[in-house]
Symmetry: C2
């Protein structure tokens, strides 16, 4: 099936099966179907998807059991952040042609009463897809973790994994602007070169290197003050001994655990708790969706001029066509992306 | 050797050997020796120990390697908090007869220039030994963990282990006063009865019970908002699934890990980090010694009227004679104490 976006049909991916917590999703998890385009009723708008965001959090929503968010149920449209254009409006706040960021999911059209619209894009926003990345949820995640949990002080050392990913690329640049030594971790020389050459990281260490822990240690001669935890697994093992007293560890993701990935061998929890005590660590999990009411406007005010002015660079990994979304997410979960993954769904 | 406290000799316990991190200390760790009483020079005072505090943190200072505090070196006097009387003074701030709280260690006499004196006790303080417990470091630990890290809200559920211990007994009563449901954990029926009958815990669960996790769950029908972590080990395993979203976990001690005590079996760290993320936990290690400059005066102002007025009850486990200190600490580390352990060294 290869159906382009039209004004007549709504293509959508619905869930056909859940994924075991220790397994990787396959393309058979979703089914592409087409249904009629819905019509906007009183007080509603019809949204047409232009861009769809693919993000690591989607993995946990494929599980059967609810975690911090309900799982996607079988037969439901797969969730996802989108930038859409208003095609029809019976809502006083939205005009035909407006661009909005909401969570329309993996489909061409959605009806909205406005309550699920996160933000109306500024008129003439030069890169609408950036509102799924640097100026959207990943950028907000980066900003909130750094500013409100990490509380950076100039001269400190900051480390983040997946340094060229959606969150890593932004938080690394924001940390650099705050006067920190920034150390990225990425998979492969190409990403590392980009991290230091384009994103301004002071050092980037390849986690595939055999002597990765030693390289990371050498990159952080004074230890680590802020570690943005978004991967878990062996990377965290290398980070832990380098954490300094009073280090802050915002925890926004554990991509290496989403499909199994528990470590073999000894129980590391007692050692971790001892480090937490002895080094007075502050380890704080957060889900960015909680932070919108209090902090999102501040983020937009701070980040928009930096991103649109080019002081914070953006790298996107653009996938063409909604039909490629399943494989795009599967690749993302393996780390095969290079930059913030967005799907160009329509125009 | 059985030498009482005199004006002529300074009895002191010095370290003769370190203890392996996974071993329990034995009496052979210390040697009791007697030396002449030192003399106060210009600007100095001579302190005579009345009360010595025994506390879990002492265990880590017996290791060979430094942790968050330097280890006690062989031949050095064993560390410990004390209440002492000024016997001679060449210091303008201290008069003969004043009582002070400092860290004179396991000995009868110490020379001080005042810089190591934490506090001068109020004249006529009715229970000087309380300045080693409810009004000293353990009470300050309880207050700081609850107020500044736990940030309690009325109606929330609070849990602490070692509920009748030096920290547990105080934090439980402070939490109750703040309007929280308080659940203690203790070893044995006698301690549990005391926790509910005298200390005002709503429930106390015996961690030796075979169905301890089920009992704890039943005691926390709405889950746990604040867990004061001071033991680690299997108790934490029972607590973890009960932690609510946005729960706070101040980590002030890990007594079950101090002498080995790593858990057999699977690696629990990935599960813990997933909980941290999904439930947005805030896990914060702290060492109370860091908090003195900023918070100690507030603590004294808040706690002194409560403790001296009887709204916060104090249970002490009094050991007679300095010579019993080694066995007293060994027993404390096994949980064989019942209340805050203090040694009556002199008079």
């Amino acid at each position: 099936m290869n159906v382009p976006q039209t004004a007549a049909l709504n293509r959508r991916f619905v869930l056909t099966q859940h994924t075991q917590p220790d397994a990787e999703p396959t393309p058979a998890v979703w089914k592409l179907e087409t249904v009629p385009v819905p019509e906007a009723g009183p007080g509603q708008v019809l949204l047409r998807t232009l861009w769809l965001s693919l993000d690591p959090y989607m993995r946990v929503r494929l599980n059967d059991a609810d975690t911090y968010m309900p799982s996607v149920k079988k037969g439901e449209v797969m969730v996802g952040g989108t930038v859409s254009r208003v095609e029809a409006s019976n809502h006083p706040d939205y005009q035909v042609g407006d661009l909005v960021h909401s969570y329309a999911g993996w489909q061409d059209y959605m009806i909205s009463d406005g309550s699920d619209i996160i933000i109306k894009l500024p008129a003439g926003a030069p890169h609408p897809s950036w509102y799924l990345g640097a100026l959207g949820m990943p950028g907000f995640t980066a900003w909130h973790a750094l500013m409100n949990i990490g509380k950076p002080k100039a001269g400190e050392t900051f480390v983040v994994a997946a340094a060229t990913g959606a969150v890593g690329q932004i938080i690394g640049q924001l940390a650099k602007q705050a006067g920190l030594r920034t150390v990225g971790i990425a998979g492969g020389q190409k990403k590392c070169d980009y991290a230091t050459g384009e994103l301004g990281f002071d050092v980037c260490v390849d986690h595939r290197a055999k002597d990765f822990p030693a390289q990371l240690k050498a990159a952080c001669p004074k230890g680590i003050d802020i570690y943005m935890e978004n991967v878990g697994g062996p990377v965290f093992d290398a980070v832990m001994p380098l954490l300094k007293e009073f280090a802050r560890v915002p925890v926004c993701g554990l991509i290496s655990h989403y499909s199994g990935g528990g470590m073999e061998g000894a129980d590391r929890l007692p050692g971790f708790m001892a480090q937490t005590l002895f080094k007075r660590l502050k380890v704080e999990g957060f889900i960015i969706f909680d932070a919108y009411p209090e902090h999102h406007a501040n983020f937009q005010q701070h980040a928009r001029p930096l991103v649109e002015g080019g002081q914070v660079k953006v790298r996107e990994h653009i996938i063409d066509e909604l039909e490629s979304a399943p494989q795009g997410l599967i690749d993302l979960l393996k780390g095969d992306n290079f930059g913030k993954v967005v799907v160009r769904v329509g125009a």
